[in-house]
């Protein structure tokens, strides 16, 4: 009558509800982060601060989201995914409620950056991990569906946030967005644990000790891959923060500028699905396609300042969005190729933590460049250069130029002490 010690992943059934939960979570975390450009303009106007200083608000949030990855995965292996995600959802909403009462930029750094950022960290990693636990054969497809939430959400959220700001000013709009973020708690409730809850306590100590001893840090291909994505992250988020202000400066009104961001988001969504599909369809090595998409993203970002007319700018945004989306599923599967499927969770957690350095630098640097030069041309150019540098670094991976799907890398990783 005892339950089996380890269940087979259901690969369906309640798993689809978990995918729905993951979809909602990436929508409410990344969709909100991406549409924050609308609030950026309001903060610049209200606090009278420079673009560089205001950019820190989202940068701190993204950095805490990524730095908190290992902490969040340790907590969820201790207590289970569900309580951690529900707590994270509550924290992210709480941060925004606190932000609606802010009287200085520092308050925003702490409330949105630290509190909401921590909430987002507690939500993101366990939800992706839960989807992986519920599926085996259809794991990539399920993960792809789950992360596509970000794309759809930023399409809807940009004009919605602009409408909220027009109706309630930024303070009231933040309050309403906090309420919307509380839906993360409801999504977290869907993460029904697979094993009975009492079992997890025995796994507590190893979870935390693995946090303190990341052996992957000494692994050269992993390091190269992670550093490449640190560079990529330095440029990746720049359009999401600065596209709306850049368009407003060119003279387009608020709704048209917000629509540019929405179009980039839709293109990103299509790119995620298409990138994954194309990677499976053609017999091209994963790292090669990854280099290609990263380079194309960097290139389109370099060309972004050339878009003076609305249609050209729209075309470039769509191009950027598609390429940026296509590289996301490839990044996670590429990690599997580098470190092996056994160590993938650890690898993703550590890579996220390292990427935070890149994203922490990215948006404030581009904001500072804008303040120095007067417009966003230099910002986008530097961001594109970071992406291209990251793609070039991928060339340094071992066995890059061999044509076959290399399983020798996996063998090497397993041989590590």
């Amino acid at each position: 009558m005892a339950d089996p010690a380890r269940r087979e992943p259901p690969d369906g059934g309640w798993g689809w509800m978990v995918v729905l939960a993951g979809f909602l979570q990436s929508a409410l975390v990344f969709g909100v982060i991406r549409s924050f450009g609308v609030f950026f303009m309001e903060f610049v106007g209200y606090f009278g601060e420079l673009a560089g200083r205001v950019s820190w608000v989202t940068s701190i949030g993204i950095a805490v989201l990524q730095l908190g990855g290992p902490v969040s995965s340790a907590l969820s292996s201790q207590y289970g995914a569900r309580p951690v995600v529900m707590a994270g959802g509550f924290l992210s909403g709480l941060g925004m409620i606190l932000a609606s009462f802010a009287t200085s930029l520092t308050h925003l750094y702490l409330s949105i950056g630290v509190v909401s950022g921590l909430g987002w960290a507690l939500v993101f990693t366990p939800s992706v991990a839960s989807v992986a636990q519920y599926f085996a054969k259809r794991r990539t497809f399920a993960t792809g569906l789950a992360v596509s939430g970000a794309g759809l959400a930023s399409f809807a959220f940009s004009p919605l946030f602009q409408l909220l700001v027009d109706t309630y000013a930024w303070r009231g709009a933040l309050l309403v967005v906090a309420g919307i973020s509380f839906n993360l708690v409801a999504a977290g409730a869907l993460l029904r644990p697979l094993e009975p809850e009492g079992k997890a306590t025995s796994g507590g100590l190893p979870a935390f000790s693995s946090l303190c001893r990341p052996r992957l840090a000494c692994h050269r291909p992993f390091l190269l891959f992670a550093v490449a994505f640190v560079l990529v992250d330095a440029g990746y988020y720049v359009p999401y923060v600065h596209l709306v202000p850049h368009a407003r400066e060119l003279g387009f009104d608020e709704y048209r500028a917000a629509f540019l961001l929405s179009s980039a988001a839709v293109a990103d969504l299509c790119g995620r699905v298409a990138g994954g599909w194309l990677a499976d369809r053609f017999a091209v090595r994963l790292v090669h396609s990854l280099t290609l998409w990263t380079a194309l993203t960097g290139l389109s970002m370099l060309l972004l300042p050339l878009g003076q007319s609305y249609s050209l700018l729209m075309g470039l945004c769509i191009c950027y969005g598609f390429c940026a989306g296509a590289l996301v599923p490839l990044q996670f599967s590429g990690m599997a190729e580098i470190v092996g499927t056994g160590r993938i969770t650890e690898g993703i957690g550590l890579m996220q933590m390292m990427e935070s350095a890149g994203s922490l630098v990215g948006a404030p640097l581009s904001g500072w460049l804008r303040d120095m030069t007067g417009d966003y041309t230099a910002s986008f150019t530097v961001a594109g250069a970071f992406l291209l540098a990251g793609s070039l670094l991928l060339f340094a991976l071992p066995n890059y130029f061999s044509c076959s799907m290399d399983s020798t890398i996996e063998e090497k990783t397993m041989g590590d002490p």
Binding site: D166, F182, N183, A189
Partner: protein
């Protein structure tokens, strides 16, 4: 006397300008009445000279009074801009055309109207100018006709606000057609949407006049149907006017209350007049966004409750189903036992 020698030269210059304007308007596509504008700053100095001499020429016989003389010396020194604005009308049947002329500071302007008509129209055309619908008789008006194109030119020296307004050239034969130049100061754009703020918060209302720098800015507030000036020196805790840059004015309103929910006007003062832009302020209390927030929070609590209730329900069902299965198994074992006992008793009986 200064008229000698350069007199015919200045006449030639006027004719040249008129021809140039005609040529430029001919170069445009025919078919609809259009407007063209030609700002000619290169001839600035020479036109100032021309004005001096032209004045003399058009009033032959009069002496230059010392006042006129001084004024013209001043104009010569200050290098006023000159500009020409023209409208081309294509035939008597076209609709009245209008053009807005934005004047920032005193200038010499020439308004030019050209009428192109077919040769079947009757020969005489009466040309007049009107200012604000009153007929104007002026020595600064010239009328020409070249090959079915009637043109008239009105030279004006705009020095103060009384000269701003609508100037209309009217061509009349058996039909009448006209074109109007609206001379106005630079318009200030306000904001179309309201600016929203909260009770107790502070807000900044901004008006910009980027191309033309006003001499001064004055803020007004609507009080019913009146407009009351906002005095920031009288109430420094409430209103602060920031004039860091001359072309941007910012009115900061502190400690907002519901009485501040009204329209504000920023008035830019120029040498030739004023113009206003409107900015509306809408004041909300914290209750307003709180309502949708509470509605969404309630929805979240309901959803969480539904999810947990459904889970408890499905667990109960599962346990119930497991209990039933156990029960069936026990029953089955029992019945097997019973059969065994019965067999032994029957054996017993048989013996």
């Amino acid at each position: 006397m200064r008229v000698s020698g350069s007199g015919p030269g200045s006449m030639r210059l006027r004719l040249l300008l008129a021809l140039a304007a005609l040529w430029l308007s001919d170069a445009n596509e025919p078919g609809t009445a259009m407007t063209t504008r030609d700002i000619n700053q290169q001839t600035r100095e020479s036109i100032s000279d021309y004005t001096v001499k032209g004045h003399d020429l058009s009033t032959p016989g009069s002496h230059l009074s010392t006042q006129d003389f001084n004024q013209q010396i001043e104009e010569n020194i200050s290098n006023l801009t000159s500009a020409m604005y023209s409208i081309s009308i294509d035939g008597f049947s076209s609709a009245p055309v209008e053009e807005n002329v934005t004047l920032y500071s005193p200038a010499n302007i020439t308004l030019l109207c050209n009428l192109t008509r077919t040769s079947t129209d009757s020969a005489t055309v009466e040309v007049t100018w009107k200012k604000d619908n009153e007929r104007v008789e002026s020595r600064n008006v010239t009328i020409n006709e070249i090959k079915n194109v009637w043109s008239t030119q009105y030279t004006l020296k705009i020095r103060d606000r009384n000269q701003m307004g609508n100037y209309t050239c009217v061509f009349k034969s058996d039909q009448e057609v006209q074109a109007t130049f609206h001379l106005q100061v630079p318009q200030i754009e306000g904001k179309e949407h309201h600016i929203v703020s909260y009770v107790g918060d502070s807000v900044v209302l901004v008006c910009k006049s980027l191309k033309y720098i006003p001499i001064n800015w004055i803020w007004y507030m609507s009080n019913g149907s009146d407009q009351v000036a906002v005095n920031d020196s009288l109430m420094p805790d409430k209103y602060i006017v920031d004039e860091k840059y001359a072309n941007i004015t910012k009115l900061k309103i502190l400690n907002i209350s519901e009485k501040d929910d009204t329209s504000y006007w920023c008035q830019a003062v120029f040498k030739l007049g004023e113009s206003k832009g409107k900015v509306s302020l809408k004041v909300l209390t914290y209750m307003t966004p709180l309502k949708p927030f509470l509605a969404i929070a309630a929805e979240v609590i309901i959803l969480v409750a539904i999810v947990f209730l459904y889970e408890m329900y499905s667990k109960k069902k599962q346990m119930h189903a497991e209990d039933e299965k156990e029960f069936e198994q026990i029953e089955q074992l029992k019945s097997e036992d019973n059969n065994g006992v019965e067999n032994s008793t029957t054996r017993h009986r048989k013996v």
